[in-house]
Amino acid sequence: MDYSTVIADQVAAIPRSGIRDFFELVQGRDDVISLGVGEPDFRTPWNIREAAIYSLERGQTSYTSNLGLLQLRKLIAEYVEGFFNVSYAAEREVLVTVGVSEAIDLALRAMLNPGDEVIYHEPCYVSYSPSIAMAYGKAVSVSTHKDDGFSLKASELEKVITPKSRVLMLNFPTNPTGATIEREDLEEIAELCQKHDLMVITDEIYSELRYDDPEHLSIASLPGMKERTVLLHGFSKAFAMTGFRLGYACAPQPLIEAMMKIHQYSMLCAPITSQAAGIEALQNGAEAVAEMKQSYHQRRDYMVKRLNAMGLPCHTPGGAFYVFPEVGHLGLTSKEFAMQLLEATSVAAVPGDAFGACGEGFLRCCYATSMAEIVTAMDRMEQFVETLK
């Protein structure tokens, strides 16, 4: 059977993920030190795991409300108000989803008509452009640059706005660059969104993991922006709960209602066990988050220092757990560098072009791995870089 005629056009058109290519290369080697992961190296704090177990013990195995357990939504609303400084009504402006990934899909599908343009900044998380395509939108990327610390500038954004632009996607702190954004830049971007009537989907999954600056600032909290913003957040990164698949969307009621329509038919609800874990995380997880954050902070500083010292220049990323050093000046493409590094030293890091064309010439190194492994990885990379000079 010729399956090429069976697969839908917009799915067939999605290119293979660069991450998946690289994963297949690395898989099967057993001596690898990996800086290639996109999740915390901590286990979920025990009190949160225990709450999930207890929920199962009590026999909580049913569906929940499509929106999610009310108790969880109330805690989310409370947390979001305290942390992001925006208030949402737990009863109608919060939707619990299966990770932020599902929430992105819902938000796009809820707002896009075929051909609508969605602007996002690159390098970026691998799902943005495919998610836009699957929602029949047109993905329009804006490059960000190392000289700006990979932050987004309103002047660059304005260049790609057209009458068809409908949505702007933001992700600060950013995977894969660890970039954060300054208040002035965010305010200018907010102004542009109001001027051109753009909706905003802001993925702030890494917002707890910020290391230097003042507090995290969400575009949703800027004047006039709550009404045009879908704020996405979740438990994966801050609480080390990736496998629980638990996220949420906060937005004005008509948007949540539209997203819920899709969610109720495709997902029904997030798993109740994960929701029980989420309740414990929000009630009693703050201390564990602070501990993990401090540990990431130390590892970030060490990695940034070592990479710069060995001749792989990188900015000090303000958040997330990634460093994005430059490798292009050594005469190899990102992919060549990553493959030769893997061959020669068994250190795996993801080529920057997996996160968009403008990531070419860079490498994503994740520091969510043990200090001992980071030290060994940096020693080996240093030797490898010497051979290229």
């Binding site: 690898v32 990996s34 996109g38 799902s127 030290v375």
Partner: protein, 161 residues
């Protein structure tokens, strides 16, 4: 009150080198070394030890938790007697506790007989010791913050988005 981040790091892993500690804390290596020397001098740092899963290492020494009731003394309360007990080499830990007894004494020895002899000959014969109750350790699940059962191996994918 949170303790100094340097102490926090050493409590997690006493084998960090001065250089590693300095890098983690963004301090000068000499500064770290001096600070540690000061703490050793003033008794803030009492020692550096390795947490060993003794069962796995083939150690068949026994340990016992002994509840000791004491007669408090005028002036010093339990302190003099407690220190007298704590100084024995066989005693690895000694705590004053609230509740049904006064001291929780952890005693380690090469055999059941040896520990029993220590309790009957040394401990219970001290003037002021009213009674003892000895509980022998059968298995260790967690010690000094370390779980004695290995977690499942890490299940993370080597490369993920």
């Amino acid at each position: 009150m949170a303790i100094d981040p340097l102490l926090e790091l050493l409590a997690q892993n006493a084998r960090f080198s001065h250089q590693e500690l300095a890098e983690l804390l963004k301090k000068d290596e000499q500064e770290v070394a001096n600070q540690m020397a000061d703490w050793q001098k003033d008794g803030t740092i009492l020692g550096y030890h390795t947490v060993i899963n003794r069962e796995q290492a083939g150690d068949d020494r026994v340990a016992a938790f002994i509840e000791v009731k004491l007669t408090p003394e005028r002036g010093g309360g339990f302190d003099r007697l407690a220190m007298r007990i704590a100084r024995f080499d066989q005693v690895s830990s000694c705590f004053l506790a609230s509740g049904g007894y006064d001291l929780m004494v952890v005693v380690k020895g090469p055999s059941l007989m040896e520990v029993a002899r220590f309790v009957s000959e040394k401990l219970s014969t001290i003037d002021g010791v009213l009674s003892t109750a000895t509980h022998f350790r059968l298995k260790t699940y967690k010690e000094n913050g370390f779980i004695f059962e290995q977690d499942e191996p890490e299940g993370r994918l080597v490369v993920s988005p």
